[in-house]
Amino acid sequence: MAWRLTLFGVITSIFVGIIYVSTAPAIKAARESARLNALHDLAEPLLSDAHIGHAVLTALPGSYPSSLISPLLVTPIQANSRTEGVIIPVSTDQGYNGPIKMLLALDRNQKIAGFRVIEHRETPGLGDKIDADKTNWILQFNGMSYASITPELWAITKDGGQFDAFTGATITPRAVINALAETLRYLDEYPNALGIVP
C-alpha cells in the first residue's frame, strides 16, 4: 500500500517537474515584461523622452542600510546617453507578515519620481493600504526628496513624523517609511552611490 502511494507521489512529481522545466523560460520572460511595465508606471514623470535602460549590478560604498542590498540592481532611465534617473529595489523585514518589496524611482536630483510596493503579504483591509491598487497612500511621497523636510519628520505621526499611518495598522506604514527614509538618508550621504552624476 505504502509503496503504491510513494509510486504515485513520484509519478506526479515527475509530471509537475516536466511542466515546470518546459514552462520556465516563458514564465521568466512574462515576469520580466510585467516588471518592465511596472517600471514604466513608476518612472512615468521621467520618461517623456527617455527610456528604461538595462539593469546594472552596482556595489554600494560605505555602510548601506538594511533596506538595500549590495550589489544593487540599478535600472537606469536614459535619454541620449544621459542618465535621467534610476529605479532601485528597496525592501524591509519590519512588516507585519514577511518581507515587503518596493521599487523606488529617483531623478537626477534624488527627488522621488515614483514609489510603489510590488510584493507584500500584509493584512488585507488593514496593512495592504500601502498597495497603490488599494489607496493613494504611497503616492504622497512623489516629488519629495530627503532634504525637503527635516530628518525627524521622515516617520509616521505616532513616531513624531509627518506621515499618517492607517487606523488599526501602524507596523506596516512604519516599516515602509523607515525603509524609504534610511534609503534616502544613505543616498543623501553618498550621492554617487548609484552611478548618476548630478
Binding site: 500500500m1 503504491r4 504515485f8 506526479t12 514552462t23 516563458a26 514564465i27 510585467a34
Partner: protein, 206 residues
Amino acid sequence: MNYKTILLNGLWSQNPGLVQLLGLCPLLAISNTLENAVGLGLATIFVLILSNASISLIRSLVPDAIRLPVFVLIIAALTTCAELLVQALHYPLYQSLGIFLPLIVTNCLILSRAEALARRESVWISTLDGAAQGVGFFLVLIALGGLRELLSSTLILAALPPGAFISLGLLVALHRALTEWVKNRHQTTNQNDHTERRVRTTGDIL
C-alpha cells in the same frame, strides 16, 4: 449511463454552480469581472477534465485505503500545472487571479466528481462528465461575472461581496423557475397526449 444524461446533468439539472452549489468560494470571489471569470473557469475545466480522466485511468490500481491521498495528489499536480501554464501564457491574468488559481485544488467540485463518478466509470465517460461539469461551472461563472460587471457601473453593491451572494441567489431562483416551467409544460403536454389517446374499447360500435 448515457451521454445525454451526463451532458444534461453537468449543464443543467445537476449544475455544479446552481444546483449542487459546489465550489462557491472561487465562484463568488472571482466573479467580480468577466475576464477573471473566464480565466478561472477555463483553468477549472482544464483541471476537472484531466483529473477525471486520469483518476478513471488508474482506478483499478488504487486500493480504497489510499484512494483519497492519491486523488488529492493528482488534483494538486494538475492544479500546479495549470498555474504554471497560466503564468507562461497570460501573466496579467495570473496576477489578477492571485490565490484563487492554486486554490482550485480545494474546489470541492473536483474531488466530488472524482469520488462520485470517475473512480467507477470508464475513461471516456469520466472525461465527458469532467467536461460537462466543468463547462456548467464555467457558464455560471461567466453569467455571474457578466451580470456583476454589468450592474456594478450603476449599482456599486454588485461589485462587492454581498453583491456576489445576491446575484448568485437570483441565478439559482431563475434556474429553479425555468426547471419548474419546463416540468409543468411537459406534464400538460403529457396529459393532452393522454386525453387524445383515450378510445372506447367496450360497448357497441355503430
